[in-house]
Symmetry: C2
Subunit: 252 residues, 2 copies
DNA sequence: CGGAACGTTGAGGAGAATCAATTATAGTGG
DNA sequence: CCACTATAATTGATTCTCCTCAACGTTCCG
């Protein structure tokens, strides 16, 4: 079986097991989660801001963003979710969400009822722990994004995002860091980076001319990884990809 | 165990029970956590970047910041922690931390061994859930900070931070939103907001002249809350202060 | 009293925003 | 297959926040 035809739940399990040690039985429980799939066209919300949700959304295919509004209508994308991400896992413990989730390209999602996630979390405490850890990973990414928009200029900021997405997509097995799909318009990219689309356009040109990376037709090509990392001031530690943490149960 | 230890744990418990319903026995377990206190002078790290920690740090008194470095030496504070915050609770499930924790003013911390937190989390799944939820709260704040530095100008950004800290401190019961302690230099404030200290200084003046808020001698005075909220575009939803979520155990 | 940290002010410059066109690109229906 | 349209990418000119650099004032404390 190749990664490309793995089911969405298998991708999610892969994300969990990258950081949490799970028994076969626990893994089966994840794969046995009941859910129903839905197609979401680009630019359509599948979770509304302020909604009280009773399910979490697993991205099966495509790309989704977490949107927050500012009064004057401008918006910020605070997270990008790729296949295998349970986009609103935090909603299991905090059902009223303060953000919207929208598809950035045509996206397939799996709606997994909270009741299902609760069921396996209660039956298998190690899964509750894995979910908790998964939320910590996303939190760590948020924190790095604060640094990124707070303290890096446009070129470095954009380079940093490309490095992050390269590694995250590579981790899922659905791409290589030198060439991967990222169907993100320059306007959406601007909302991720806290810039304007005009400036994103000019900054992309600088990365292209510098021989580091280019984006076209929904794909990113990274031609000089080391230089991109240097410009980005990128340190992958925050992605927490360095192995499985010890289980609470075993250690207690 | 000294009295100040007890009261710090009580503050932490208060933070937990604001969002999680806990039985008396579970509450006792929190208050019974073993720990040892330490005094940290201003500007001293008590957790080093990249460290593999075996304990979490509960802020008993004072103010701490989570610092991340950028290559050229500039830094960003990605979180502020007040009394009652377990500053690195995520480290329980992910012990290698990618940030430093430093005191911003003279601060008392309680080092709580992971073993202790694991013990109560395993014995009382509802506590594991409360810890998970607590991490989600911090995550929600990170996310809002991304919006703040990404899409708000200096005046709005600073106003937003003041609103947030006002409510968080009010929640602990150790201050009022119209007057509270926040011993933060303008340089540190700049590192929180992704600005320079010079610009923070000028922006504070604008808030003062506008009759909204002023900072002096380590205290914040908010003289026109409604106007400050308006300028900040502040919506407190993200602080998740609107009551206790249902317990997973009861619902499953 | 003297130094160190912090706060304040001014002048000039740089990065990003804004405004406004123009040019691809992709999809749609005739 | 070609107009027709909407969306996305690109470019140029101008403006404005915010940064940088440098100096000076203030507070606090040994």
């Amino acid at each position: 079986m190749t990664f490309s035809n793995m089911s969405a739940l298998q991708l999610f399990l892969r994300r969990l097991t990258a950081r949490s040690r799970l028994t076969r039985e626990e893994q089966e429980a994840v794969l046995g989660l009941k859910s129903h799939a839905a197609q979401v066209p680009a630019h359509v919300d599948f979770v509304e801001i302020g909604e009280h949700v009773d399910h979490a959304c697993l991205i099966a295919d495509g790309l989704a963003g977490r949107f927050e509004q500012v009064r004057d209508g401008r918006r910020q994308i605070t997270a990008l979710h790729i296949a295998g991400d349970m986009a609103d896992l935090p909603s299991v413990v905090s059902p009223k969400v303060g953000w919207a989730l929208a598809a950035l390209t045509t996206t397939t999602i799996l709606r997994v009822p909270h009741a299902e996630l609760r069921r396996v979390a209660v039956a298998y405490p190690a899964l509750a722990e894995a979910f908790w850890r998964d939320c910590v990973v996303d939190s760590s990414i948020f924190s790095e994004w604060v640094v990124n928009v707070g303290r890096r200029d446009a070129k470095s900021r954009l380079a940093h995002l490309l490095c992050e997405m390269a590694l995250r997509i590579e981790q899922t097995g659905s791409g290589d860091r030198s060439l991967f799909k990222l169907a993100l318009s320059q306007a959406d990219l601007a909302d991720v980076l806290g810039l304007t689309s005009v400036h994103v356009n000019r900054t992309l040109q600088r990365l292209r001319i510098g021989g580091m990376a280019s984006m076209a037709a929904g794909s990113v090509t990274i031609s000089n990884w080391d230089e991109l990392v240097r410009v980005a001031d990128f340190d992958e530690t925050y992605l927490l990809l360095d192995g499985q943490a010890p289980r609470l149960l075993d250690a207690a």
